[in-house]
Symmetry: C2
Subunit: 340 residues, 2 copies
DNA sequence: GCACCGAATGTTACCGGGAACAATTCATTT
DNA sequence: AAATGAATTGTTCCCGGTAACATTCGGTGC
């Protein structure tokens, strides 16, 4: 209703109506300090009246900055990566950045290289890679990108910025919980060890198990899927010689419980199970799953902070540790015949 | 390694090296027909050598088209909307479109108006709204947008393009399954009726129930969350006078089963439960959930097809019906004391 | 040989912003 | 009152593409 001439107004039309040069309008838009208050007000009025919006393409062209962050998500089926992405998006938007995301290995398998190409062509100011496997990091290393790159992964890296949730803390919480219940024989059902998070959890598990004198035993390596864990559980021959399973994610934990139930092994009666992630249904599956919750929102915020700092060439902030949390529900109990 | 002068090459540099005008390069990029083969090859060689990528911002500025689709997702917590978004993204990318998405009501509650503003400012060529409530459609109607808008919702609409999955078919499949097992008293645990999908499922449920002569009874209206259904189930006073529950989504179905188990009501022994969505864990919760699977990938494809046609002012294709599928697992059985 | 036509290519302007630099205004200082 | 310097505003050009129109080129028909 504001302007009858259907077309989108541009900065010069605003300028003309406000009786100033287009640069003055530009300055108002960008909060340039030395603008007379009266002028600013007049310009803002016209902007309001015309319902003017700056054209981002033009701005991007002029400034060589797109105000856009590219994100590559591996396997957006997993809960963690998805949650991280969502948190990242909302933080980014609040900071005035748009997000373009590409998910890999989801149906139409596109390669890391293609994903990077696609995003750089879109002209992103920075790139974030979520939850990758070591192989894709290797692939990334070879690609020259030209913008800051942040990889969500444990362990620092000389090539990229990095952040991650503290896998060690969560794992420690889980193991300590089992040990405190009296478990001394714990199996670890890990994620694919090519995944850095899986590897980190596995390492942390071993370290902690050793510290407590838990019996060393070979881990089982899964693929994050409930199906895998289900099949594994169904394949268990006899009464297992462990009393608890620390599972690297909730999906597998649920599949495991399902498979165990078919084998007639009750949880937590005969076997305790701890998951990782706290997926939305974790509290409601039977039995409700004891699991480790991670703070993906905090992670998303940290990512955006880091990336903005890099883009704007400010000092890179130190990321404060993001704590994990153990949610004790009903899939864990003292082992049968525990002394205490 | 191609060009030592670190900066990104532009179209005129390519032209110079190829010994042609920059327009010829532009024509090669856009598959303009009247280009001598030798010229085209030479240009492509230089492009390759310099690893040149056209600058999308400049192109968008010149053509007034961004090759970008904006998506507004309500409550990206739900499985359906998320899956649709993912499918849409991958189809769009294959068609040369980028996607910008904003999720509403997720933590940092931003309004539909703000979301639309944000996306139009980004300069999208088309807008898609996924899984909305009637209230947000009403809000949308008031906003003038200037690009084609598609709303994923049941029922046609004079204002927008629309597509949706066939809620009726899925519901019919579910109800028929229960009836064929012998159930004549079925409760419907619905989603918020402000949600068009919830409303469509509810209507379809009633229609089908009536057709089968199932006893009419008031439905229960939930909020899609497992928590709600859990609380509801725990609040059940006595032995229910229905023998099956048709739940509007899997999350609530899982919560319901959880609550029922605490009340000592077994599924499917005393009560059969059918869900809707086939979330990834549906096959592995206990008992594995009988549910309706929807083809979100097909939906995503349909959305992109429709939107592209609208943007390119081609004839809008007719969307072929997207079939639903009933997955019979273990949460349904014949009612106790069934004659047959 | 020349007018003519389509194929192939070039020239120029423009899309809508911002950067750099120039110009003007205004309050202080001397 | 003139000089000074900061505040305020304007001018011009450029960002990297594409649109529109102009030009050149090679073959045809007469």
């Amino acid at each position: 209703m504001a302007n009858t001439s259907a077309d989108k107004p541009n900065i010069r039309q605003v300028a003309r109506l406000a009786g100033v040069s287009h640069m003055t309008v530009s300055r108002v838009l960008n909060n340039y300090p030395h603008i007379k208050d009266a002028t600013r007000r007049r310009v803002l009025e016209v902007i309001e009246e015309l319902d003017y919006r700056p054209n981002m393409a033009a701005r991007a062209l002029a400034t060589q900055k797109s105000q856009r962050i590219g994100v590559i998500v591996e396997s957006a089926v997993e809960y963690g990566p998805t949650s991280t992405l969502r948190a990242l998006e909302s933080t980014a938007r609040a900071a005035g950045y748009a997000v373009s995301s590409i998910s890999l290995g989801d149906g139409d398998g596109i390669s890391p290289q293609e994903a990077v190409d696609n995003l750089t062509t879109q002209g992103v100011d920075a790139l974030c890679v979520i939850a990758p496997r070591s192989s894709s990091i290797a692939a990334l290393r070879k690609i020259s990108i030209g913008v800051p790159v942040l990889v969500v992964k444990p362990d620092r890296d000389p090539t990229f910025l990095t952040v991650s949730l503290d896998q060690q803390e969560g794992t420690t919480l889980a193991v300590d919980h089992l040990v405190s219940l009296g478990h001394r024989d714990i199996l670890h059902l890990a994620g694919p060890l090519d995944w850095l998070d899986a590897r980190a959890r596995e390492r942390a598990f071993h370290a902690r198990a050793k510290a407590w004198g838990v019996r060393e035993r070979p881990i089982v390596v899964g693929d994050w899927s409930a199906d895998f864990a289900y099949d594994f559980a169904r394949g268990i021959r006899e009464v297992p010689d462990y009393t608890a399973v620390f599972v690297a994610n909730d999906d597998m934990a649920v599949g495991l419980v399902h498979g165990l139930s078919e084998r007639g092994i009750s949880v937590p009666g005969e076997l305790s199970v701890v998951g990782f992630d706290d997926v939305p249904l974790a509290a409601h599956v039977l039995p409700p799953l004891t699991t480790v919750r991670q703070n993906f929102r905090a992670l998303g915020t940290a990512i955006v902070d880091l990336l903005r700092a890099a883009v704007e060439e400010r000092e890179i902030p130190r990321v404060t540790r993001i704590p994990a949390e153990l949610l004790v529900r009903s899939s864990t109990a003292a082992p049968r015949g525990a002394e205490r």
